[in-house]
């Protein structure tokens, strides 16, 4: 108990009763501070939030405090403790940033993050129904944060954490103990591993976060083996071996993760048979997981100098198609490896392999375009953005070239990161897929000139004159190509929208074809009336969609070019969340005979539950890497905008009436509930 002169009792002598008296006093004050924040006008929220935040921090530093704050989390958020901060919109939060914030931030920021974790827990357990966050999203987020903090979770804060100001070490210890009380660590690890495999099945280009989760699992298992814990007793950890080896020990030559120099020396001493083994092992590991190890880069660079046997093709795991492309463009590919493939940029190896497999080098302008890219010098601003993101160990030019290989090899692996730039991500992805030499041109302009000019209905728009885009800052958590090009595309896209603002109707009708390419249909169907937001001739909308896209109703015509489309996003409870940009790539039967739409979703994680039984699949239903898919009726029930060629409208009356009616009912059960 604190004595009258204000001096605290000896820390060790604090008894439970005194601690709980102190906690009660803090909670009294916290409740008062929350009430005061509830009363505050929006413009005063930020200023008033300091009190509740500080009191919540001190309460959480007391035993039992985290639970008490957890009980108040909904009130805290309702009162405005997250108001005007990055945490206000939980849908945009990033697990890796959350983990960093908990570990490194000042007390106030770390407390916000801790409260955000409690919110995630409450939402994931269904005790807090959150408009901007589904319980699945929250559970995934929580699993990822836990995955990135396994050490804190399982062994408690280390000395560096304990000595942080503001008792943050105690807060974290109590926080994770509380979370573990509600989730089983072995289960979390299993969930995390499943989560990693699920993410990898979408073959993202940006994999740093996944790799860092894998290192955490590796550390956890190493620790667990010595302590005889869950991993060795069969609980937890299933499927981890392949992940860990893919990053740290993909082959026999580096089984014990010996370090890159040692591996280089071993390669120099190997004969052709052993090298063939290594090449095959590296290729298998990479194609199994979508992850390339730093050892792989060491091997490829060594292979450049190896003669007469050429191990590059085998190390890339190329098929006959890929090998043929390699043989035709051998000098170019070797130059690309020389410049772009280093231990730091190893992930580009996967892009290189897939680029060769796609055969894009046979398009006459792609090869010369890549030669230009190899010699391209960067303007200071994009170079600086790349250095900020990737450091200075490699030149920004090397990172960008590596990024170009990734994008050309994995067009559907482009993600928007933690940014409102789904349009720019979709455009980059679409060009990498359908128009790669144009993509190379965009990269050259934006990287070399730090400027991009696009025409909108004949009038040029320059990115350096256009006003701000949707993103307040240049996206930083994305792939190198997006880092360089996305800010320009974002601004131009926003400017095109501004130029349509007066027209009435949905601006995408005009912007999408001008922005993305000539192949985007000039016809544009909209499910809602823009002025009122209500459904507008919805049955016609659905029938037209079937007539244009459904192979059984459009004369068996497959989708020729990817077409931008708009989705009414809903959460797992089928509540409307917002409009979202995607692209339709294919409509085809899956292996069970279900007609599915295969589409690209620029969200980093496309496996989403949209509620009312609509669960987006990302693997196992005939998807190619990076594709999302839904049965066409489910897809139609969330679609609100699509493009078509007005000269190819097909027969709208062909769609079966009961299916159309079911789609309308499903739309009205979800996003169109009060439209």
């Amino acid at each position: 108990m604190t004595s009258v002169d204000g001096r605290p009792a000896e820390a060790g002598a604090t008894t439970g009763a005194d601690g709980s008296a102190r906690l009660d006093a803090l909670l009294d004050k916290l409740d008062h501070a929350i009430a005061r924040l509830e009363d505050a006008r929006p413009f005063a929220k930020r200023q008033r939030a300091g009190g509740p935040l500080d009191l919540a921090r001190r309460a959480m530093a007391e035993p039992g405090g985290v639970e008490a704050v957890y009980d108040r989390i909904r009130r805290l958020e309702g009162a405005g403790v997250f108001h005007d901060t990055d945490w206000a919109n939980p849908g945009i939060l990033h697990a890796s940033i959350a983990a960093q914030t908990l570990r490194l931030a000042d007390p106030a920021t770390a407390t916000l993050e801790a409260l955000s974790q409690l919110r995630m827990l409450a939402v994931s357990r269904g005790v807090y129904f959150h408009p901007g966050l589904s319980s699945e999203q929250a559970a995934n987020f929580l699993a990822q944060t836990i995955g990135l903090n396994l050490d804190l979770l399982l062994s408690g804060p280390d000395e560096a954490q304990r000595s942080r100001p503001g008792q943050i070490g105690d807060v974290l210890r109590h926080l994770f103990a509380f979370i573990v009380g509600h989730v089983d660590p072995a289960e979390v690890v299993d969930q995390l591993i499943a989560e990693i495999w699920r993410l990898l099945a979408q073959r993202p280009i940006v994999v740093e976060e996944i790799k860092s989760m894998i290192s955490q699992i590796a550390a956890w298992r190493a620790n667990d083996e010595t302590t005889g814990g869950a991993a060795t007793h069969g609980r937890g950890g299933w499927g981890a071996d392949r992940l860990i080896s893919a990053v740290f020990a993909p082959t026999a030559g580096c089984r014990e993760d010996p370090g890159l120099e040692v591996y280089g020396a071993r390669l120099a001493a190997m004969d052709d048979a052993a090298l063939a083994q290594e090449a095959a092992g590296l290729a298998r590991s990479m194609h199994d997981t979508g992850l390339a190890s730093a050892y792989h880069a060491v091997f490829l660079r060594a292979a450049l100098d190896r003669a007469p046997t050429d191990f590059i093709g085998p190390a890339l795991g190329l098929s006959a198609t890929g090998m043929d492309a390699y043989r035709c463009y051998r000098d170019l590919v070797r130059a690309l490896i020389e410049r772009a493939v280093h231990p730091e940029t190893a992930q580009a190896i996967y892009g290189l392999a897939l680029m060769l497999e796609r055969g894009v080098l046979y398009q006459p302008s792609v090869g010369p375009g890549l030669w230009r890219q190899i010699g391209l010098k960067l303007a200071p601003a994009p170079a600086e953005r790349l250095r900020t993101r990737y450091g200075t160990a490699r030149a920004p030019e090397d990172w960008l070239l590596a990024g170009v290989l990734s994008v050309l090899g994995q067009p559907l692996g482009v993600g928007q990161g933690n940014n409102p730039t789904c349009q720019a991500a979709r455009a980059l992805s679409m060009w990498a897929f359908a128009d790669p030499d144009y993509l190379l041109q965009i990269v050259a302009w934006t990287a070399r000139d730090d400027r991009l000019v696009m025409a909108f209905e004949g009038a040029p728009i320059s990115s350096d004159e256009a006003a701000a885009g949707l993103a307040a800052q240049a996206p930083a958590d994305v792939d190198p190509v997006s880092i360089v090009a996305a800010p320009h595309l974002d601004r131009i896209y926003a400017e095109m929208g501004r130029r349509c603002a007066e027209r009435g109707g949905d601006a995408h009708r005009w912007v999408n074809p001008e922005m993305h390419g000539w192949w985007v249909g000039r016809g544009c169907a909209l499910a809602v009336d823009v002025a009122t937001g209500r459904l507008d001739r919805y049955e016609d909308f659905v029938r037209r969609f079937y007539a244009v896209y459904h192979p059984l109703h459009n004369g068996g015509q497959p989708v020729i070019h990817p077409q931008p489309a708009g989705i009414a996003m809903t959460d797992a409870a089928a509540r409307y969340v917002g409009w979202h940009a995607i692209a339709i790539y294919r409509v085809a039967l899956d292996q069970e005979g279900v007609m599915r739409v295969y589409f690209y979703n620029p969200n980093n994680d496309s496996g989403q539950d949209w509620g009312d039984g609509v669960v987006v699949s990302t693997e196992g239903k005939g998807e190619r890497f990076g594709e999302s898919s839904l049965p066409i009726a489910d897809f139609a029930a969330r679609l609100y905008l699509f493009h078509y060629d007005p000269l190819e409208v097909g027969r709208p009356d062909s769609a079966p009436a009961d299916e159309v009616a079911a789609i309308e009912a499903a739309a009205r059960r979800s996003w169109a509930a009060d439209r």
Partner: protein, 411 residues
């Protein structure tokens, strides 16, 4: 929650002079229409947040004060409420126009000149210490000598200090304590003219008096634990014993300054022989967020109370129903401590562990340091931020607040 408060068109339309987020926020929640009159730098924020706003530069009172009055009158504003020392004379000028009462202008000048203020109080039969206006450093030395010789001090005896204050600044700004002629050399020339006062040994406290129809509607005594550092509300029982005397003194002020309505913030000393001395009086919200302390302790919002006092359309019933009973209705004692770095070189903000664990500690509004070097303080300067406390026991509150002076918040 944050639903709009209905604005009652039958009640007064208030102009707030000066930009104070706490005040704006409180009046936004109140049932009266309002407009904030503030310099141009506030425009963007006001527009972004939908705060009714009129741009005005308060640099110097000039012939344009009449223009501001006319502008507000055209808008239908009933009365102007000053939020800062610098806007008190503007409020006087504006209210002279709005309420068609030229006397208010002169009254405001009295509140703005500490020399005139004391003389007026003295004329009204209020006990004040010895004071004098000073134009040069020599005047200060002369005053120091005269005061100490009157106290029959011999050469070599330590001097009784004197106080030097700017005429027209709020609270502790420009307040210096002078003990020796050498201290006088440290005074920059631009601080003249100023006011000199003898030192009173005793208990200093502040009063917040809400006045309507020449009557005190609510009176709070703020106990200063140490001037310029800490204060709490309501005062301890020991000080509250003086309440009826304090009320008499404030009534004298109302007569002397001819105050029909508004808000008075006087400061007094009680000396060891039981005499009460008037220090000075302000016609605007006190520093150290005393209004927030009153709200914390009593639950009513003092900015709203202030607007009510100024509002010519407020009814007696509304005023009657607004205030709680002093002292007995308080839910506890609310205190605040102004932090100054104690070290010359600092690296970080760190709440002392002892404070962190103290059950009276609520929260703080301190920011991490931007610079490592702390500038030496010559006068009572501005604190770096406030720390808030709340608890049941006034004696313990006093101890906790005075203990804070010995702790390092910046290390």
């Amino acid at each position: 929650m944050t639903t709009e408060t209905e604005k009652d068109p039958n009640k007064g339309y208030i102009a707030l002079l000066g930009w104070s987020l706490n005040a704006i926020e409180a009046i936004d929640r109140f049932d009266r229409r309002y407009v904030v009159v503030a310099p141009d730098w506030a425009r963007q924020y006001a527009e972004d947040n939908g705060i009714p706003y009129l741009a005005w530069s308060f640099d110097r009172l000039n012939e344009r004060s009449y223009e501001l009055g006319e502008r507000l009158k055209e808008m239908g504003v009933d009365v102007a409420v000053p939020l800062f020392e610098e806007t008190v004379e503007w409020a006087g000028a504006v209210n002279a126009v709005l309420l068609d009462n030229p006397r208010l202008m002169n009254q405001a000048f009295l509140f703005r000149d500490k020399g005139m203020m004391k003389r007026r109080a003295q004329l009204g039969g209020i006990r004040v210490g010895i004071f004098e206006e000073a134009d040069h450093k020599e005047d200060v030395v002369k005053f120091l000598r005269r005061v100490n010789s009157a106290l029959l001090k011999l050469d070599g005896d330590p001097n009784d200090p004197i106080h030097l204050k700017a005429f027209d600044k709020a609270g502790c700004l420009g307040h210096r304590v002078i003990r020796t002629p050498e201290d006088v050399d440290a005074i920059p020339d631009d601080e003249f003219p100023c006011l000199l006062e003898s030192h009173l040994d005793g208990w200093e406290f502040g009063v917040e008096a809400f006045v309507k129809d020449r009557k005190i509607q609510f009176l709070n005594i703020s106990e200063y634990v140490r001037l310029g550092y800490s204060v709490f509300v309501p005062a301890s029982a020991e000080l509250e014993k003086w309440r009826s005397r304090v009320e008499e003194e404030v009534e004298k002020l109302i007569e002397a300054f001819d105050v029909d309505f508004g808000f008075l913030h006087p400061e007094y000393f009680v000396t060891s022989d039981g005499k009460m001395y008037f220090g000075e009086v302000a016609y605007r919200p006190p520093g150290f967020n005393a209004f927030e302390l009153i709200e914390r302790a009593y639950g009513f919002n003092a900015y709203q109370a202030m607007a009510l006092m100024f509002d010519p359309k407020a009814t007696a019933e509304e005023v009657e129903g607004f205030f709680p009973k002093p002292v007995v209705d308080a839910k506890g004692h609310a205190g605040t401590f102004g932090v100054y770095p104690r070290r010359r070189v600092i690296n970080a903000l760190e709440i002392p562990e002892e404070t962190e664990k103290d059950p009276y500690f609520e929260f703080h509004e301190l920011a991490p340091p931007l610079e490592n070097k702390v500038t030496k303080r010559s006068a009572f300067g501005t604190h770096w931020g406030l720390v808030y406390f709340f608890g049941d026991d006034a004696v313990r509150m006093r101890d906790v607040l005075s203990r804070q002076e010995e702790l390092d918040y910046y290390v």
